[in-house]
Amino acid sequence: MPQSIFTTNHHRSPPTTTAICCSLSTFLPSLPSSIRFPAAKFGYALMFSPYRSTNAARNRVVICMAKERRVKMVAKQIQRELSDMLLTDQVLQYAILPEAALGADRYLSSLTTISDVEVSSDLQVTSFPTSASSHTFLSPQVAIALELKTEDVKHGHLIFDARDLGEAKPARKLAGRIFEEEKQRLTRVVKVYVSVFGDERGKEVAISGLKSKAKYVRSQLGKRMKLRLTPEVRFIEDESLERGSRVRSYRILKNLHICC
């Protein structure tokens, strides 16, 4: 009877075996609001195997999650690096401001700033399984349907019966289908919000120039930062700064505790 084991791994590094980690955060956006996942804030590993065995070590599917604080730190560092690249890298400057390539870089027609960076996935996925025979993933709906309670975790393990998940089909048949879905979900994407000060033409030129250099930016980011997997960079235009500059009511902002 397949069993599943949850292993809390926030006190030690995730296993370096062929176990695969996938991000719990990727599951959360698809969650209906009625389903809760109380243990989501803990970094833990969910391991499941299709083999019918009482050996708990073989019944494993691994879900690891980096700590939220670390994800924020990495996002902040990515913002610093990209901002520095916008100032120092000539390739990017020519992409944002084409007239700079002609030598007219003294007076700017538009000003580009990176306002926010959002890391949309986890940071710890290292590899994907070559075959789904020994390990598989549960579908997100199944995984989230499991109501984890922190008090059930004994010595860092939570053992439950896979029949509680409501899986009608044997897990082995689900392996091939689920693997491809999870692989797509596990691609790390970083959304970079860019604010451009200038006229409409300047904004279009800057955003299109940045989007055309997304792969170059990704390669440069990989050289500058030490990451397990360099994320895919997507540039999105940000109009929030322009909207925010129109907020004139000081009292509203004071009540929101934004200003002192």
Binding site: R70, S83, D84, L108, L111, R224, K226, L241, E242, I258
Partner: protein, 136 residues
């Protein structure tokens, strides 16, 4: 020996006196770092007329680096010089922070005409060794 009291109308002045001068055109320097934004208004020669920063506007800690703090700092710095009759200004921006965009928008909304916007972030021609890389 007692020091002689200077006569009225002599060269020296007792106390300081603020000079109110009309400045139709000036330069606004915006230094935008990740943690703070400093806005300095000078005349075309570089003599400081007024300045303000996110810290002096009452923001503390991480709030100093926000765009709203930069907008407030720019508004405070410009308020003093608008009364002195400044109509046009050139903007010089230094640094990579969020204050670049926010302060610029605040200046534009204040009514001062922006003649030019320049980026004067210091670029070494491979000079001093930069600080070590941050490990995240």
């Amino acid at each position: 020996m007692a020091k002689a009291i200077p006569k009225k109308g002599s060269r020296g002045r007792i106390g300081s006196r603020k000079s109110t001068r009309k400045i139709p055109k000036g330069v606004i320097h915006i230094q935008a770092s990740f943690n703070n934004t400093i806005v300095t208004v000078t005349d075309v020669r570089g003599r400081v007329v007024s300045w303000s920063s996110a810290g002096t506007c009452g923001f503390r800690g991480t709030r100093r680096g926000t765009p709203f703090a930069a907008q407030t700092a720019a508004g405070n710095a410009i308020r003093a010089v608008v009364d002195q009759g400044m109509q046009r200004a050139e903007v010089m921006i230094k640094g990579p922070g969020l204050g670049r965009d926010a302060a610029l928008r605040a200046i534009r909304r204040s009514g001062i005409l922006l003649t030019f916007v320049r980026d004067v972030t210091p670029m070494p021609h491979n000079g001093c060794r930069p600080p070590k890389k941050r490990r995240v």
